[in-house]
Amino acid sequence: MSQQTKASPDRRQQLSEFLKSGKASAFLQKYTMSIALVVVTIIFASWKGKEGLILLPSNLTGLIAENAYVFVLATGMLLCILTGGNIDLSVGSVVCFTAAVGCTMMAAGANMWVTVLVMLLIGLAIGVFQGFWIAKLRVPAFIATLSGMYAFRGFSNVVLNGYRVDISNDGFLMLFGNGKTSFIPDFIRSANPGLDSVFTKDNAFLTRLIGENFVTKFNVTCMCIGIIAALIFIALRVHKILTQKKLNISQSIPGQIVSMIIIAALVLWVSFKLACYRGFPMVLIWICLVLGIYAYITNKTAIGRHLYAVGGNEKATALSGVKTRNVYWFAYANIGLLAGLAGILTAGRAKGIDPVYGEGYEMDAIAACFIGGASAYGGIGKVSGMIIGAILMGVINKGMIIVGVDANYQKVVKGIVLLVAVMFDVLSKRQKR
C-alpha cells in the first residue's frame, strides 16, 4: 500500500517530465501516419448512411486485392528512394510490358510456371539494364527511367498489337488472381466435417461472435493462419525485448509491449474479417512475402545498411570501402524484379492485359513511400512506414468510392493527402532545430 502511494506522485512527475521533454511530440511525430490512418478509417466507417461499410469483410478483401501492386512496387521504390531520393518512373510501363509478354505466352498455351519465371526475368533484366545506365554511366535516375517509361509502354503496344489479350490459365488465375478460386481453401474444415455442425446459426455463442451472416461459411483455416502469425510475431518481439534487456539497451519496454499488442490484435482482426468472407487471399501471401523479405533486407543485412548509408552520405560511404555504384545498381535491378511480380499480379487480377494498364502505378508507389515517411533526400524510410502509407492511400481510395465521391475529385483528395503528409514531415523536422 505504502509503495503504491509513493509511486503515484512519481508517476505523475514522470508523465509531466515526459510531456515537457519533447518525447510526447516525438511520439506523435513517429506515429502521425498511423494515427491519421485510424482517424480516416473512423471517418469513413461512421459516414452517415454508409456506417461500417468500409469494414465489411468483402470490402477489406477487395482493399487488399486492389492495392497488391502498390505494396509490391512501393517496396522496390523505397529502396530506390533510400539511395538518395531517386525514383523509378518506368515501373508502370514495365508492369504492362511484362504482363503483355506473359499473357501473350499463356494465350499461346505456354506453361504457367515457365511464364512466371520469364516474366520475373524480364523485369529483372530491365532493372539491370536501367541500373547500368544509372550506376555505371551516371545518367540521372529520373531521366533514365523516364526514357524507360516511354520505351516499355511502346514495347507493350508492339507486343499486344494495341489490343487486349485475355488469359484463362486456371492455375495462374488461382495463384495470382482475384476470383472466387484465388483463396487458400479451408482444408481444416473439409478435413473435419464435424466442424460444420459447430458453425451453425444454432450455436448462439459463435453466432454472436462472428455474426449471423457469416457464421456458416466461417473460414477456419484463415483464422488459424492469423492466430499462428500473431503468435509468431509475439514470440519474436518478446525475444527481442529479452535480448535488449540482457544487453542493457535502453528502449522503452512498455511502448514496445503496447505496440506489440496493437499489431497482434490487428493481425487477428484482419484474419477474422477475411475468414468471414472467402478466406485468406492468395495475393496476400505474395504481399506478405515481399514485405517480410524486404523488411529483413533493409533492417538486417549489409546491403540494406549500404542503401541507407549511400542515401545519407555517399562520399562517406564510398570512403568506408563500399562500392556505392553497385548499391544503386542493386536498387534498380531489384525494382525491375518487383515490377515483374507486379505485372504477374496485375495480369492475374485483370485476367489479361490491356495496353494502358499500369499507367500511373509509379506515382502510387512513390506517394506511398513519401506518405510513409521516406525522406525525399534519401537515407531515411522504413518498410513499415511505407506499409502504413500504402494502406492509408488504399483506405482513402476505397472510402471515397463507398461514400460516393466523384471520381475526378478522388484524385484531388489524393494529391492533397500527399502534400499534407509531406508537409507534416517537413514541419516536424524544422521544429527540431
Binding site: 538486417k300 543485412t301 546491403i303 552520405n313 562517406a316 570512403l319 570501402g321 537515407g379
Partner: protein, 514 residues
Amino acid sequence: MAKILLEMKNITKTFPGVKALDNVNLQVEEGEIHALVGENGAGKSTLMNVLSGIYPYGTYEGDIIYNGQVCKFSTIKDSEKLGIVIIHQELALVPEMTIGENMYLGNECGHRFAINWNKTYSEADKYLKMVGLEESSKIQVKTIGTGKQQLVEIAKALAKQAKLLILDEPTSSLNEEDSRALLDLMLSFKKQGMTMIIITHKLNEVSYVADKITVIRDGTTIETIDNHGKEPVSEERIIKGMVGREITNRFPKRENVPIGDIRMEVNHWTVHHPLYPERKVVDDVSMYVRKGEVVGIYGLMGAGRTELAMSIFGQSYGVNFSGELKLDGKPVKMRKSEADAIRHRIAYVTEDRKGNGLVLSQSIKVNTSLANLNAISSHTVIDSDKEYAVAEDYRKKLSIKTPSVEQLVGNLSGGNQQKVLLAKWMFAEPDILLLDEPTRGIDVGAKYEIYCIINDLAAAGKCVVLISSELPEVLGMSDRIYIMNEARIVGEMKAEDATQESIMQVILRSGRGA
C-alpha cells in the same frame, strides 16, 4: 571610455528541452574588436543568431540595445538595415555565379523589375578593392580559392553598409597565411572605425586581434577579459575560462614506447589532379612510418597533404598514379579501391567529417560499424546485438558523450562527432591510420581527449600519420615531422629538433621562384 554600440542584456533562449542561453550579457564598444570564445555548444552561435534576428524577437527573453535603442528584429533584413551583418562559418556563396552576383544576392541593385548590372559590378569592384582582392567581380566564385571566397563574403558584408560585423569562425577553413591576412584586414577596418565581433577557436588569433574577450560556457557569460594590457592575455588564461579548469599541458605525454620497424613506405609517389591531369597534386613524395610512431605532416592548405593521404588510401583521390607503396618492406600493388586499402589495414580519417566521414542521418551505432560490417555479420546478415555491443564499447572507450548509441550522429557536437569517426575507423582494425586534421573545429577539452586517443593508438603499436595545419599540434604530438609544400615534401625533422620557426623557414625557403 568609448560609446557602447551594442549591449545584449540578460538574453535567455530556450529550445524544447534545453536552455541554450541563460542570462547572457555582452557589451561591445564602438570601434573595438570583440572576441567571443567558448567550447563548442557553449552558445556563441545561438547568441549571434539572436542578435541578427534569425531567432526573431519574442522567441527569446532579454533586450538587445543597439546604438541606444532597444531593437526588436523579426528577420535578418531588419538587423542588416541597422548595419549588423553576420558572416557565417560555412561560406554562403553560389559557386556557379559571379562574385558580383553573389555580393548582391538578395540585395540586388537597380529597381524591382530590372537589375542594374553596370552599377552592380562597379560597386562590387569597389568593395573588392577595400578587402584587397584584385579579381574582377565578373568571374565565377568557384574559380577562386577558399581564402579569397572568405574575403568576398566580407566584401559582401561591406556592400550592405555594415557597421557591426560579426565573423563566425572566419579562419576555420583558411591556412595560416590567409588567416593572418584576414586578421590584418580586420585590424585595418578597426582603424577606420568599424566594430567587429569575432567567434573563433584559435586562441592565438584572439590575443592577436581582440580588444576584449568574452568567454561563454554552458550558455552563460563567464567573464570579459581586457586585452589592452602590456602583455597579451595568455592562451592558458582564456582556456581556463572556457573549460572552467586549468589545462596545464595541452598535449598529453606519451608513454615511452619502443618504435618498431618500418610498416609503410611510399617511394616517388606522384599523383595528378583528377580534373586537370597535367597538374601534379603530389609530386615525387617519399616517406615512411614505423610501428608505434606518430608522424606529423605539416603544410599550408593546398600543400597536397590530403591528396597524399587519400591517394595512399586506395587511390581515392587523383589520377595517373606512379611510384611504389611498400607494406612491411614488400611492394604492394593496390587497386583503385577503398575496400582494398581497408583490407591492407589502412584507414583514412577525413578532415571533413560531415561531408566525407559520417552519415549524419544515422545513429552512432550504424556509423561505428559502417567500415567493417563483415566483423558483425555472418553471410551479410547483421547481428544487431553484436553491433550494439561494439558501439557501446567504443562509446565507453572514447567517452563519447551521448545518452545512447542509438542517437543520431547529426545531433552530436563536433568533438563527439569526431570521436564517432575515430571509433568507426578504429573498429575497422587498421595498423596504419591517416588522420587528416583530427581536431579541426572542436573545442579544447575534446582536443585533449583526441590527443590521448592518438597516444593510445601509438602505444598499441599502430602507425599514426597526423596531418595538421596547426603547428603547435604537430610539434606537440609527433615523433617525426614531414613538411610539405606545393605537392612536395620539402623537409623532415625529428620532433626534438623542430620549432615553429624552423618549420616555417623550411617552407619559405622551399617556395619555387623564391
